[in-house]
Amino acid sequence: MQASSGMLTKFESKSSRVKGIAFHSKRPWILVSLHSSTIQLWDYRMGTLIDRFDEHDGPVRGIDFHKTQPLFVSGGDDYKIKVWSYKTRRCLFTLNGHLDYVRTVFFHHELPWIISSSDDQTIRIWNWQNRSLICTMTGHNHYVMCAQFHPKDDLVVSASLDQSVRVWDISGLRKKHSAPTSMSFEDQVARSNAQQTDMFGNTDAMVKFVLEGHDRGVNWVAFHPTAPHIVSAGDDRLVKLWRFSETKAWEVDTCRGHFQNSSGCLFHPHQDLILSCGEDKTIRVWDSQKRTAVQSFKRENDRFWVIAAHPEINLFAAGHDNGVMVFKLERERPASTVHQNSLLFFITKEKHVRSYDFQKNAESPTLVSLKRLGSAWVPPRTLSYNPAERSVLVTSPAEGGSYELINLPRDGSGALDATDSKRGQGNSAIFVARNRFAVLNTSTQTVDIKDLSNNTARSFKPPNIAELAVNGVKYVVWSNDGLHAALLSKHHITIVTKGLEQVSILHETIRIKSASWDDAGVLLYSTLNHIKYTLMNGDNGIVRTLDQTVYLVKVKGRNVYCLDRSAKPKVLHIDPTEYRFKLSLVKRNYEEMLHIIRTSSLVGQSIISYLQKKGYPEIALQFVQDPSTRFELAIECGNLDVAVEMAKELDRPKLWTRLGTEALAHGNHQVVEMAYQKLKQFDKLSFLYLSTGDHSKLARMAKIAEHRGDFTARFQNALFLSEVEDRIQMFKEVDLYPLAYMTAKAHGLEDECQSILEATGVTEDQLTLPKFGASLPTPKPIVPTFKANWPTKAASQSFFEKALAGQLEGMTLEEEPATTNGVEDGDLVEGDAANKNSAMEVDDDDDDAAGWDLGDDIVPEADGDFVNVESTDTSGAGSSEADLWARNSPIAADHIAAGSFESAMNLLNRQVGAVNFAPLKPRFMEIYSATRTYVPASASLPPLVNYVRRTLDETDPRKVLPIIPRDLENLAPNDLQQGYDAMRSNRLEDGARIFRGILHAILANAVSSENEVSEAKKLITSASEYTVAMSIELARRALGTPDVVNGNPDLLKRSLELSAYFTIPKIEVPHRQLALLNAMNLAFRSRNLSSALSFANRILANGGAARILESAKKMKAQCERNPHDAVEIEYDQFAEFDVCAASHTPIYSGTAYEECAFDGSKYHSKYKGTVCVVCQNLLSFSGRGPEE
């Protein structure tokens, strides 16, 4: 037995000794009861402690989740059983009754019952709804270590230190407690009596079997989920397998291996496996069929105390001295491979290889079963498919890594066990060509290239081309174009180029499961509970949540194809808008962005903050409705219009301040003015007006200042306006006469000076005045800046924004990339030049380079061969395949295909007497041009001509034959129908042409079977009859317009005759009806009532379309009154005759005639030696005399 690495630890916690474990059936939760009296609730997927419950006094040994209710139960050394609600996070009630430690507690799967086992030697069943003890099962005479309900039947199994395992029948208990619908008084009495007997005899729960076999106390016992099996584990270090029937139970076998007390055991929920754990610090896995050890897992220091299985998924948990571990026995990732974007091959849990068609969304039946291959309990890891040989390559970690090459059965008829397989050692194996595969051996670090018979063709150490240190890479996913790869580690995805240059790396807190590239180069990956995406630059996000872990295999448009844990193909629908949008943003594909913005509802905080972060506030602006966010974004991208709009809407001082600052920076003083006005920042406003030269507004500001009584402001404004008087006036108002005087004096306003002096009663002499400089001139605006916003900061509107605003057509979007391209081009040219230079420099080395690989020792041998070949056979050209065709076939069509037209004509001439070939030219060319294809081979040489065959599987050059277009299969449904259509819609010229075309096509055609021969004959006859029929009617129409014809008795006679002959050829009945109707009407119009009557009779005899029959009936009724012909015509309705195809006159039976050898059309014998008008290429008719 080997310690395999197959056990995969998914979660580990550190705590004191674990005594009990329970999985939640739906959520990723596990309850752990500890020796330290605590109960922990963990999320094992995220690795977080959700809750803890500390109400027990002393160790908690038993714990269980309710299957459907938000409840769990625990039992401990305080003799108490507690029922808890994890929703309200508190203990609901306590069940008291046990007189010693409670070892295990379990809920019943459907009834509101709890079963508990205790050191008081009893097993008790409780009803948690009415919180009562309903049954006490006594019998064990030592501690009861474990008691469990049967998953379906009314059975209980218990294990005790008295060395026995007992099976109990509790059907009586169920009967008693299942709600009685109607119960007679007697029943009730009987029932209450029965209940009384509980006290003595336990009729509710009777011991059914006592299983003895363990030599020491039994610690754990469990039922098999479906089969009548029991497994138990005891202090005798044994795990025992038991079986029971209705009447008896017996020991089946013992699994020996634990070298210390075995503390727990259980059946695998889906597979034929038993898991056990023990104080020898091991978890062991056993094959329950063969009772052999499959795996064992050892911990260094921790003894295991308890083991539990998840009821649904492949997860187990084991509790030990220092915590709990959640683990899987095997990898669940189904091995799969995608072939040509259309087929998915995968291996199911039953080890069947199946395929799945993406287009048809259909799963194939099992192609081959791998059951017999490899180790039974190790699932294959990878799969590689080879379409050429229809074989698969499967690798598995068993035996230190091995691969197997298996051919899929050709017929794919069913679950055949793969028998012939070629196998070998290796860690990874894939097909690299249709007849080669590569095997990687990590131990020796070599790659072997092997052929399909498993012989190593080449073995080499992979050359180290590039290196990149990435930790713990588990999978590599190549992009569809093969230029990038994603390296998946447990928590990281590293995207690299094919040269192993790191493009980006991202970190996930939860496990990364799988990844797949979409066509645009976006990597979609799945974690335990999400599908996410990442762009090359590392931008990532969530695409959707998952309720179930899946493994992505392919992304196409809105569909994500994946396999779930049970290896079922699934299609998930996603909304790719977000990442497509981000991708187009990264690629600066503005048109696409525009399209996305316009067509989809892409909103949300994440996209906005993303855009902002990426420096595209102007784009983010398009998504936002909230005014304050819009304002922020508008400020950020300098879109003042939007900012003003939003500021007006919100009208908050803070925003106005920011808007003012921003607008000032832009030079947009009108907005600044508005902001200042809103903020009532008069000083700033004044200064703004001053600087823009807006005097009138400045004056108004002065007025306002005056109104407000703000002297400082007034002074300021006056100063700006150079209004001396106003200033003086103001100084006077605030009693600052000295200043007023000074101002007046400085500006030479002597009158004012005087009045001030007078008012203050001071004389000029009393004042000492400083010297005045020249008075400042009033600033005069040179440019009326205030009239418009100028100069403003260059608008930072992006092309994109403009396009959104509809100001520009899509064209302009190109502008930016175009210019960058230009630059790049320039660079390239330079680079080229550099290359050239360097090339010039190394020209000297040419001679060395020319001497390459002469050292190669295989070459001389091959060379010898060449010489050989050349010397014997250079004798020029051989015969082409086309020549072979002519040689291989006596059929004219094949000669035509061969290009040997003359021999073809000779053949036709001989076979059907053809001479007039001109009408056949299109058919000849058609055949010829369908037979040659052109493969572009070496560059600069004309393409290689190849010859298309109809004998696809033939390789014998004496049997190959060319393809013939428009073969019989093709003619009948296409051309013939067209001909019929023409007849029906009265396009007779077209019809005649089509039917002649059919004749020509058959004339030069190939038939391969008797069947086809007769079909061809039928087709020829039919086409011939139609051609004759149509030409008769066409000849009639060529006589002239009805007026002309009616006016000329000869023509009229001929016309009536032709119309009658038109009804003779053997064309399809519905078409004949048309001819008859035509003839009948014409005859009636010319008062040839007898003929008309005969036509009507024939119509009625043929049956068919009601409308025609109706008119025939009427006609018949009319004609029968006077069945006489007004015009004598050469048409005997009672005689049998054919119509001569050339003269359109009757050939009565019994007269000699000529017949076309090909189409069978008939002629008067005088036409012998002329061209058949039907097929247009026949001259010599085979004469048919009256004797025939």
Binding site: G482, G876, A877, G878, V915, K921, M925, A937, S940, L941
Partner: protein, 295 residues
């Protein structure tokens, strides 16, 4: 060491060239190549340009360097591509005497001579090669053009022995396979399909080749898809049009539109010249019969 082999520096550019990815060849970054591979790489680039119809520019480019046999050969190839087949052939014949064991001269010379219809001379020159897959592939093609599939088979089988899974051997084998038929069709199809469907190796050449295989396999619809895909990539690719024309005829439809578009893009395409020739032949042959009839 063979620079075109799997470990060699030129493997990628060489493969690009033979997969028909001419633009990739031209865009190939040659700056990192070691000095002895510069010239072969340049020759490949020039050949790719010629294949893309830039023969005139190439001729101008190498004009000053014709003292080197490689570039003299390139110049001859460019001339040949420009229609001066005889001038080019003469130049090659001269080169063959002075530098007949230069591999580039052999290969390019082979092409030029074959294009000039001097197949025997081409084979003679090519037979001097020493372990060149290019030469092997060319010899195979010439044999096939001469309808000597038997020799072509031998050639490929010999090359297989020392060059195993090389791209060129696979291609040459597929060309031969298209003549042999039967299962070989399918094998050829796999080779081309593998190249055409992988984004890294896909090119219009391989796509058309794949389509031809499918046509030969009787899978008309698939062939049509592939050809239309090819025409989408390059609407004026003569071989794609020609094969689509053939396909149209096979499916019993009217090829007039394709014929005219082929006439426009490649009036010298073998399909057209061949058909014209046959049309004359028909008239001649047919006239004999009507003459007899009249007599």
């Amino acid at each position: 060491m063979d620079p075109y082999s799997a470990e060699g520096e030129l493997i990628n550019i060489h493969n690009h060239f033979h997969q028909g990815q001419f633009q990739e060849v031209i865009d190939f970054d040659t700056s990192s190549l070691s000095s002895e591979n510069e010239v072969p790489a340049r020759v490949l680039i020039q050949r790719a340009r010629i294949a893309l119809g830039q023969a005139k520019d190439v001729l101008a480019d190498v004009k000053g360097e014709t003292s080197e046999p490689e570039f003299a050969a390139v110049a001859a190839l460019a001339q040949s591509a420009l229609g001066q087949v005889d001038v080019a052939a003469q130049a090659i014949e001269k080169l063959a005497q002075s530098a007949g064991d230069n591999q580039t001269v052999q290969v390019l010379g082979g092409i030029v001579l074959q294009a000039a219809g001097k197949s025997d001379e081409a084979l003679a020159l090519l037979s001097k090669h020493s372990g060149s897959l290019d030469a092997t592939a060319l010899i195979t093609q010439i044999h096939l053009q001469q309808n000597r599939a038997d020799l072509a088979v031998k050639e490929v089988a010999a090359a297989r022995r020392w060059a195993q899974d090389s791209l060129l051997v696979n291609l040459a084998e597929s060309w031969v396979g298209l003549r042999m038929g039967g299962e070989k069709y399918q094998q050829a199809f796999y080779v081309f399909e593998e190249l055409a469907q992988a984004p890294a190796t896909s090119s219009i050449v391989t796509l058309v080749s794949q389509a031809v295989c499918e046509l030969h396999l009787g899978r008309v619809e698939e062939a049509q898809t592939a050809l239309e895909q090819a025409l989408q990539k390059q609407p004026d690719y003569a071989d794609a049009i020609a094969n689509l024309l053939v396909l149209t005829v096979i499916t019993g439809k009217d090829p007039a539109e394709l014929t005219s578009s082929l006439k426009k893009t490649a009036p010298q395409h073998p399909l057209l010249t061949d058909l014209e020739e046959k049309s004359d032949l028909f008239d001649k042959a047919a006239s004999k019969f009507s003459a007899k009839a009249a007599a």
